[in-house]
Symmetry: C2
Subunit: 393 residues, 2 copies
């Protein structure tokens, strides 16, 4: 019986993780649940899964939840859920004996410190929070090696690469082929991107996801962040990672070996497949997932080159990763702020990449980063990004 | 240093195997070479690779070769190639200390007894002769298990499946997706197949292979034989193997697991990739193979259902495998004779499947087959097939 912490249990990945756990009650016990603002859903999840610990983002929500749980009779001995809050609460929960495996589906850089705490406490990690590796790659991978824990990818692309590599330990990789749906603006010109509306950007053709990642998918920054994540997870140089636009989202990524052989992982675009592999590893779980229909959805698979001049975010992310040090921290922090400004109607879609480029050009890099340093640089970059946008707006 | 026997070294797979060995002189030493009728090429191969043993099909060729080698100075101490002939020669060579690994690229059922001899002598097998498993599946797999040797597939499809399974030992397979180019008559109606010429049937759109296998590819019997081979190699029921027509020949086959995840192996259609994996296993060898170009050859991958009413050979092969016993032996033997008759202009293309169906309908099956029994049934079936064709012709 695996004890699982689901950090970010009320989001898209979190709820789908609980679907997988619900189908496999003999394998998993939920030890920790956590939410951002959706306390109502968290409360329902608590009454279904009875975790040892629940964490909210804000203290006030924790107090309300505590009260509600007490009133609903959750206070009975052996059945009591302890309520914590904030980053400290997440770190405590993720390193507690309430879990052996931490599925991290937190949003943005808020996922970094809880991952580090969990790794240092010897927990295996199922990672859906790509910012953990984008901002803290060197730090986290070093801690993972020292602690001897497993770092299992949940992103569909990284899960695909992981699966292609499973039988190929010690064999030389020629190239990782990271697929991308291309988002809603595949094939658009830079000119066309200038008049993109919020509604258009939020309409992803293949995947139903949270708002931040949906916008990242539209700018293709998501793919840029994934290149950086893959670079750390699979220990390959950025230039050995090639992005293939594959609009059908059936091939989730591929690996080419030195003999010219390419392994690929395919599946319906359903996150429960990679989630269940990360949770159940080393087993594959019976998913109830429909067979991939090669005579319908998969009967026609195409691959295109993304245009790095139109989707500048890809180029910026690869450059930031090559430059190293704090560049990826700056890239990620600035992007989080800019996407939020776009979501609130403060800047235009095209300005996400334009401001980002300016911020990175002006960034003074730091190296040999500690966790504290990363979080500090992130804060500074966010201020810069907010200022630039204010000035222009 | 692996000592390798190449049985059938002058054929398409044989010469490509020697290409792979030529590129990796530090890994392999050629211990055995063998030919059918092409003694001239065998002699050149002997002077390049200096095997301990060479085998010809016919005694007269062996004597001529022996003489030629003596005259050319091959008789020097420590450099001498012993020349053997026929099935006995192949069995002796394949079980001798001249090899640790036997790559079997013999034609037809003549591959069965040498495989058995090699397995019983504890040699690993790289299998390009699918008839070995089509006719002797139960017998061979049992011997492989008892001897604890490796049976490595060389067929591109089976190598693909093998690669998809490498990291998935012990995990449940939902389905094997065996791809087929569809051959030169993909999409044709039964009516159209009636007027196929020899020239048309010998023109394969993707692979350059020997004549027998090229015709098998045109009738799609090749795919039927591959279903039977896969059934034994990977221990799955015939009904868990689905044939996908994939005219680009880039995806060489796939495996679907119980979690809904599908692994696929892709590559340029070049047999040196699966050959080098079988020879070099567990290593992948640096192949010099060009990268698979997803923006050209692989930019557009399609999948179709084969029509089991037009390509009856697929249906007949699957039925024969389900029925078991000597049915696959009859299928294979009759097919070898009928293809040969077609190649010699004695019967029409469509008659291959028509006569085959009649022969199988009339076949009285035997079970619990020994090697001798299999070879005897094969002989009987060949006579029946030749008779039927004569009567009609």
């Amino acid at each position: 019986m695996k004890q699982v912490a689901i950090l970010g249990s009320t989001g898209s990945i979190g709820t789908q993780s609980l679907d997988v756990i619900r189908r496999n009650p003999d394998r998993f016990r939920v030890g920790v649940l956590s939410c951002g603002r959706n306390v109502e859903l968290l409360e329902r999840q608590i009454s279904e899964f009875h975790p040892q610990i629940a964490v909210t983002a804000r203290e006030e929500d924790a107090l309300t939840l505590q009260k509600a749980l007490r009133e609903s009779g959750n206070a009975g001995a052996g059945n009591r859920t302890e309520v914590l809050w904030g980053q400290e609460g997440l770190k405590t929960a993720a390193s507690s004996n309430a879990c052996d495996l931490v599925l991290n589906a937190l949003l943005g850089i808020s996922g970094l410190a809880p991952t580090m705490a969990a790794v240092e406490a010897g927990k295996d990690i199922a990672l859906a929070n790509k910012e953990t590796l984008v901002t803290g790659g060197a730090l986290v991978m070093d801690a993972v090696r020292k602690a001897g824990v497993r770092l299992l990818p949940v992103d569909s692309e990284h899960s695909a690469i992981f699966q292609c590599l499973e039988g190929n330990q010690g064999r030389k990789i020629r190239k990782i082929l990271l697929t991308a749906s291309g988002g809603p603006f595949r094939g658009w010109s830079r000119k066309q991107l200038e008049s993109v509306t919020l509604e258009q950007a939020l309409h992803h053709p293949k995947w139903s996801m949270g708002k931040k990642i949906t916008i990242d998918s539209a700018t293709m920054m998501n793919k840029g962040l994934e290149v950086i994540e893959a670079r750390w997870l699979f220990d390959v140089p950025v230039d050995a990672i090639q992005i293939l636009v594959h609009p059908q989202s059936i091939v989730h990524s591929m690996v080419e070996f030195e003999d010219g052989s390419v392994l690929a992982q395919l599946g319906n675009p359903d996150m429960r497949i990679p989630i269940s592999l990360a949770l159940g590893y080393p087993d594959r779980l019976e998913s109830g997932e429909a067979e991939l229909d090669f005579f319908d959805a998969g009967s026609w698979l195409t691959f295109e080159r993304p245009d790095p001049e139109v989707f500048r975010c890809i180029t910026l992310a690869c450059s930031a990763s090559r430059a190293g040090g704090s560049y990826p921290v700056a890239l990620n922090g600035a992007n989080e702020v800019l996407v939020d400004l776009f979501l609130h109607g403060k800047i235009r879609f095209i300005e996400i990449q334009e401001y980002l480029e300016r911020i990175l050009d002006a960034h003074v890099p730091e190296y040999h980063l500690t966790l504290e340093k990363i979080l500090q640089i992130d804060q500074e970059v966010r201020q810069t990004a907010a200022q630039i946008a204010r000035k222009v707006g």
